[in-house]
């Protein structure tokens, strides 16, 4: 029964398997995989950057103090107007 790493290290048959040769994909295929992965990596990062840039613009646009003050002032004016209309002359 194989119980742990030490049993594997002590097993001559499994040890022989460790000496089996490594295989490599064809060089051009290995290079193509690398290029594809780099492209996917760059694409993903550009998408993330675009998303971040959009969020940054949205944040700046909506939380700009002047905008906030203007929106709050307009909302208050609208509320006073409605209340005045409801109360009547």
């Amino acid at each position: 029964m194989i119980r742990g790493d030490e049993d594997i290290a002590a097993d001559p048959l499994l040890d022989m398997l460790a000496a089996l040769p490594l295989y490599e994909p064809a060089a051009e295929r290995a290079e193509r995989i690398r290029r594809f992965s780099h492209a996917a990596l760059a694409g993903r990062c550009r998408a993330t950057q675009r998303k971040s840039a959009f969020l940054a613009r949205a944040y700046t646009a909506f939380l700009e103090p002047a905008w906030v003050l203007a929106v709050v002032a307009a909302s208050l004016a609208w509320c006073f107007n409605r209340v005045a209309l409801l109360l009547g002359p």
Binding site: M1, I8, P21, E24, H38, L41
Partner: protein
């Protein structure tokens, strides 16, 4: 590559660092490819599966959890892709063993193992491995060839460690028996 190096490379990968990808790719490429070739018996299929495995890594790198052990993660993805491939193409054990029947007929060209299996013993080992049922071959390869710990290999196979050790022991016994048969066949010649 130690755990700290691996962690920093994975962090690099999350930020889109191509150099981090290259370091991981260069370190694991041959081990992953060898595993896939031995599991499916076809070099072209192994190359396709390997490409998909690395692309999946790139796509999912940002979601990798802290403390993810890269080797087992990579082999788990490759294992799932191989399982999908086997389901879709009905790749059976017959085809893997076919390579060795061809070789024993004297037509060595075409076997993905032929070039690298330089010694007779290595040739026998490869042939005996190819004759093992899929799940036992996987267990033996992960631990003995790819050098994952039994615990890591158990996680790749979605098994409890004790269940995996039983599978490994059974695989080892089957491999031993297959080697004996090959030696007997050799002696009769």
């Amino acid at each position: 590559m130690d755990a700290a190096d691996e962690r920093s490379l994975l962090d690099g990968l999350k930020t889109g660092d191509a150099a981090a990808f290259d370091a991981l790719y260069d370190h694991w490429r041959a081990r992953l490819f060898g595993h896939l070739v031995r599991m499916c018996g076809r070099k072209d299929v192994a190359e396709d599966l390997m490409q998909e495995t690395w692309l999946r890594l790139v796509r999912t790198a940002p979601q990798l959890r802290e403390g993810t052990s890269f080797g087992p993660w990579l082999f788990t993805v490759a294992r799932n892709l191989l399982a999908s491939y086997r389901r879709s193409r009905l790749l059976d054990e017959e085809r893997v063993q076919e390579l060795w029947r061809l070789e024993s007929d004297g037509t060595k060209a075409g076997s993905p193992f032929a070039d690298a299996a330089s010694s007779e013993l290595q040739g026998h080992l490869e042939e005996a491995l190819a004759s093992l049922p899929h799940k036992y071959r996987e267990a033996v390869l992960l631990v003995a060839v790819e050098r994952l710990s039994p615990k890591e290999a158990a996680s790749v196979c979605s098994l409890r460690p004790d269940a995996f050790r039983q599978r490994l022991a059974r695989g080892r016994a089957l491999l031993d028996a297959a080697l004996d048969r090959l030696r007997e066949k050799e002696n009769r010649r």
